[in-house]
């Protein structure tokens, strides 16, 4: 007997299943279309508008005929070059020490080098002004020690302080990328060169350096990209004297009301950053494969002899001081007034100052920023996860979609903000555009945190679980979820900290009189005003922002799996 005839459910089941599959397909398609739509509306459309705006003959001819603009481009290029070279010079010895030696507190120190990297630019700018300013601890110490009449170090609005801040920011890239790769190089290879008659220098030149080339180039490109698009540091530390493409876009639009010139400059910026980004991705992939792999433990040893120990201690001590001093100065000066220790700057935060530029009490900005950050986690988390799943499941579209999802990482925040204001001017009165801007900036971070972990789960783990008797759903619960779950948590914290510190795009989008201002905007405005209370409040707010970012960073270091994920 054919049992199917007697069982309507069984007879219907293929149909039902087909229906379910259809619904699943629809849902899936929607899920996959969502991030593409998001990118189209809030990334490609604004950039397209910039392109259209820039296509006026007048703007181009104005740009090319003025030496002023060429000067800006030139300055942008060479300050980035100088910053990159300096960062490499300071980062390489540290990378070597981290790769080849073990010493007490190594993990903590390595984490410490990353702290500046996660600090918002307004915090770093405030911190360096706190450290090196006329009343800062360095100058005070020098004045007291040598009995000077006035502060000897005048770095505010100089190239030096810009370069120092850039090195401060990016030194961890060298330590992480180059040092990480270096640690996987077989030290025997260098030893072999030595036994064969190469001096220390020659062995480095002939063997180590060529092997380090992929991470060196990748790190250089990344540092170059970051310093090329540096906005907050140059605007807040360099002052009106220094102008890069990035700050000039801002000035042309906000101060000189020339959206067409700003658009041409943005176009230039986009071309440069996408070019650098493409190069970086290529070299980053190459440096992911170490040619001669060895477990990391065996390649590092303890320093031997007093000479080696002293040299390493001095280098690491200097690095620590360099990384900690500005942030320490920031915290200390936020609680120091004219009469010693005080909480006055913090106590004044809930009050609206007479004649204040922000029109809202500073504390409101703290609340705003926290809300934006939480919502950014939800929005960028949704689109980022959908994209990661899309990339993971649809391998055929991968080569097309992967770079597409990476592109927002290459676009500078200022360009994005500029694109938003010329595309969605009507939305500027609502907080929505700020949220969208933050979510778009956070989006690639979410994708890059989750995807490598998703890809990195060895199929063997799933197979082992299945052989041990786990059903497909149990396999997902037992293997995928716990591993990817942690990555999602990391992504959420990333999105949160990115939103908290976002400055470039927000400075375009948020109207000065709006009640939706964020913490970095208020800090920047306070920095621009004379008077100790404004500076003091900038210090207090920066300290709060620093604490939030540092907490986020610690959370990431805690939860993430070592070395999986790309940031």
């Amino acid at each position: 007997m054919n049992s199917r005839l007697f069982n309507p459910a069984a007879a219907l089941s293929p149909l039902l299943a087909g229906n379910l599959r259809l619904r699943g397909l629809l849902l899936g398609t929607l899920l996959f279309l969502a991030p593409l739509l998001f990118l189209a509306l809030f990334f490609f459309y604004p950039l397209g508008n910039i392109l259209l705006t820039s296509l006026t003959v007048e703007a181009f001819s104005r740009l090319l005929s003025r030496a002023y603009y060429l000067g800006i481009l030139w300055f942008t290029l060479w300050q980035a070059t100088l910053s990159t070279v300096l960062t490499l010079l300071i980062g390489l010895p540290a990378a070597y020490i981290f790769a080849r030696y073990t010493f007490p507190g190594k993990g903590t120190l390595r984490a410490l080098t990353t702290v500046p990297f996660v600090m918002p630019t307004v915090v770093v700018a405030t911190a360096f002004r706190a450290l090196l300013g006329p009343a800062g601890p360095v100058n005070t110490l020098l004045v007291q020690t040598f009995d000077l009449a006035r502060a000897p170090i005048q770095v505010e609005q100089t190239l030096a302080v810009i370069l120092i801040a850039h090195v401060f920011y990016n030194v961890t890239i060298v330590v992480r990328l180059v040092g990480g790769f270096w640690a996987t190089l077989n030290p025997g290879v260098t030893e072999a060169a030595r036994v064969l008659g190469a001096s220390r220098l020659r062995a480095f030149w002939e063997v180590t350096l060529p092997l380090l080339r992929p991470p060196l180039i990748a790190a250089s490109l990344l540092i170059y990209l970051f310093t090329f698009t540096s906005f907050g540091v140059i605007l807040l530390l360099g002052g009106p004297t220094f102008s890069t493409l990035e700050t000039e876009i801002y000035r042309q639009y906000v101060t000189f009301l020339r959206p067409d010139v700003a658009a041409v400059l943005s176009l230039l910026q986009i071309v440069f950053t996408f070019g650098l980004m493409a190069l970086y991705v290529r070299w980053q992939q190459r440096s992911a494969v170490a040619l001669d792999f060895r477990p990391r433990q065996t390649t590092a040893r303890r320093p031997e002899g007093w000479l080696e120990r002293t040299a390493i201690a001095l280098l690491l001590g200097g690095l620590t001081l360099f990384l900690v001093a500005p942030l320490l100065a920031l915290v200390l000066r936020s609680v120091t007034g004219a009469e010693g220790l005080t909480l006055a700057y913090y106590q004044a935060l809930p009050e609206l100052q007479r004649g204040s530029v922000t029109f809202v009490p500073p504390l409101l900005a703290v609340r705003n920023s926290l809300l934006y950050a939480l919502l950014t986690v939800v929005v960028s988390g949704f689109f980022g996860l959908a994209s990661a799943i899309l990339l993971h499941r649809r391998r055929r579209w991968r080569s097309l979609l992967d770079p597409l999802f990476m592109l927002p990482l290459g676009a500078s925040a200022v360009t994005l903000g500029f694109g938003y204001v010329i595309s969605y001017d009507t939305l500027r009165t609502s907080p929505l555009l700020v949220l969208i801007g933050h979510s778009l900036v956070a989006f690639p971070f979410v994708v890059r945190s989750v995807l490598p972990v998703m890809e990195g789960i060895p199929p063997r783990l799933r197979e082992a679980a299945a052989v041990l008797g786990a059903s497909p759903s149990r396999v997902w619960m037992a293997i995928d979820l716990p591993i990817v779950g942690r990555a999602i948590l990391v992504a959420a914290v990333f999105a949160f900290t990115v939103s908290m510190g976002e400055f470039g795009a927000t400075s375009f989008i948020v109207r000065p009189n709006s009640g939706y201002v964020t913490l970095p905007i208020v800090i920047a405005r306070n920095l621009g005003r004379p008077g100790p209370l404004y500076f003091g409040q900038a210090l207090a707010l920066s300290t709060i922002l620093m604490a939030v970012s540092a907490a986020g960073f610690l959370a990431i270091e805690r939860v993430r799996f070592a070395d999986v994920g790309e940031f």
């Binding site: 036994v195 064969l196 008659g197 060895r294």
Partner: protein, 367 residues
């Protein structure tokens, strides 16, 4: 001649080498044999100049090497994982040492080709090293170390990363190259180096006793940073000095016993009084000793045959290994592990067996 005088070394206050003294004559192949952690690799790295000894001296033909940095010692080294330069071709790897010594380009190319031919890798010059198999990488590493004619060749477990069959084959080739200074791979092949017939002075680190036996003129057994025994392979095999050495070279039958009498070369053991050939040291009668019964000591006896050192027991297991048979015999409270030739007609497991233990296959060890 290389001389090591009372070399000591500690890592983090943990002694790794304690007063190591050793001499290696010109053309000699010396194996450093020991378990992992015995300090043999550290000793090799000190000789190379890659580590510094805490105390002691290292002399090459009477000259102290203390102040000579690695790259001026003129030694060659084959690393355990080969440490080939991954960014260089095979030829560039082999030629690296020559380049460091400023060889002319043509002479260098000639020597590289010659070295590649020597290790059976002629024509591999332009290849990338990471496309090579493990055995091929090993050959390139050897060619690279030999190319600058090192005064001393240091080998750190050079065959350790290879599978067994390949290891056996390469071991014999390596032995030929070291002892004959590299015989030409083909009869009549032209060689330019003029190194024929000059053996390569070598220090060979291994934890594999079979490798050490096959390749070395002398075996230096190390344990816990000390030299336990320093003898030619045959002497080491016949008379391991301590139970540790005996066990390390694969011996199992160690019996505690006592000298049975003054002058008489017999040892009282759980198997009864056994006669031995050589009396090591001059322990007093009644003094405790350890007696080694080498696996080939046993000889089957007929029920009425008489011989020295007769042992009666029961055959427990027989395991056929091709060239020989591995046998366990339970006699009194002792389980003896013995080998017999493949042709020997053995009783079935469980049956009684009567054996004679050859006095020449017994050795008295330091307790």
């Amino acid at each position: 001649m290389l001389e090591l005088l009372e070399i000591s070394k500690s890592f983090d206050d943990q002694p790794v080498l304690r007063d190591i003294s050793l001499q290696i004559a010109e053309g000699e192949v010396v194996a450093l044999l020991g378990p992992s952690g015995s300090g043999k690799t550290t000793l090799l790295r000190i000789v190379a100049g890659l580590e510094r000894a805490d105390s002691g001296a290292l002399l090459l033909d009477g000259e102290n090497l203390a102040t000579v940095p690695v790259h001026r010692r003129g030694f060659g080294m084959v690393f355990q994982d080969y440490a080939l330069f991954p960014h260089r071709t095979v030829a560039e790897n082999v030629g690296f040492g020559l380049k460091m010594h400023d060889w002319e380009r043509e002479a260098l190319a000639g020597r590289v080709a010659e070295m590649l031919a020597l290790v059976g890798m002629a024509g591999f010059g332009p290849r990338r090293v990471y496309d090579l198999s493990g055995g091929e990488q090993q050959r390139v590493a050897l060619a690279r170390a030999l190319a600058p004619e090192p005064a001393l060749l240091l080998l750190d477990e050079p065959l350790g990363a290879l599978d067994r069959a390949l290891r056996e084959r390469l071991l014999l080739e390596l032995r030929d190259i070291l002892k004959e200074g590299g015989a030409p791979p083909r009869v009549g092949a032209q060689r330019m180096g003029g190194r024929e017939g000059r053996p390569v002075t070598s220090l060979y680190v291994t934890h594999d006793q079979a490798e050490a036996f096959a390749i070395a003129d002398r075996i230096v057994v190390m344990n816990e940073g000390r030299i336990i025994q320093d003898d030619p392979p045959s002497a080491l095999y016949r008379h391991p000095r301590t139970p540790f050495v005996a066990r390390f070279i694969g011996m199992h039958n160690l019996l505690e016993g006592r000298w049975a009498g003054e002058g008489a070369e017999t040892v009282a053991t759980a198997l009864g009084e056994l006669r031995v050939d050589r009396r090591s040291g001059d322990q007093k009668a009644g003094g405790p000793v350890v007696l080694l019964i080498r696996p080939e000591a046993g000889r089957l006896l007929g029920s009425d045959e008489s011989a020295p050192n007769v042992v009666e027991g029961r055959l427990k297991t027989v395991s056929f290994r091709g060239r020989y048979q591995q046998v366990e015999v339970a006699a009194r409270d002792v389980l003896l592990q013995l080998t017999f030739t493949a042709e020997e007609e053995l009783p079935h497991p469980g049956e009684p067996v009567r054996l004679a233990l050859e006095p020449s296959a017994l050795a008295v060890l330091e307790g």
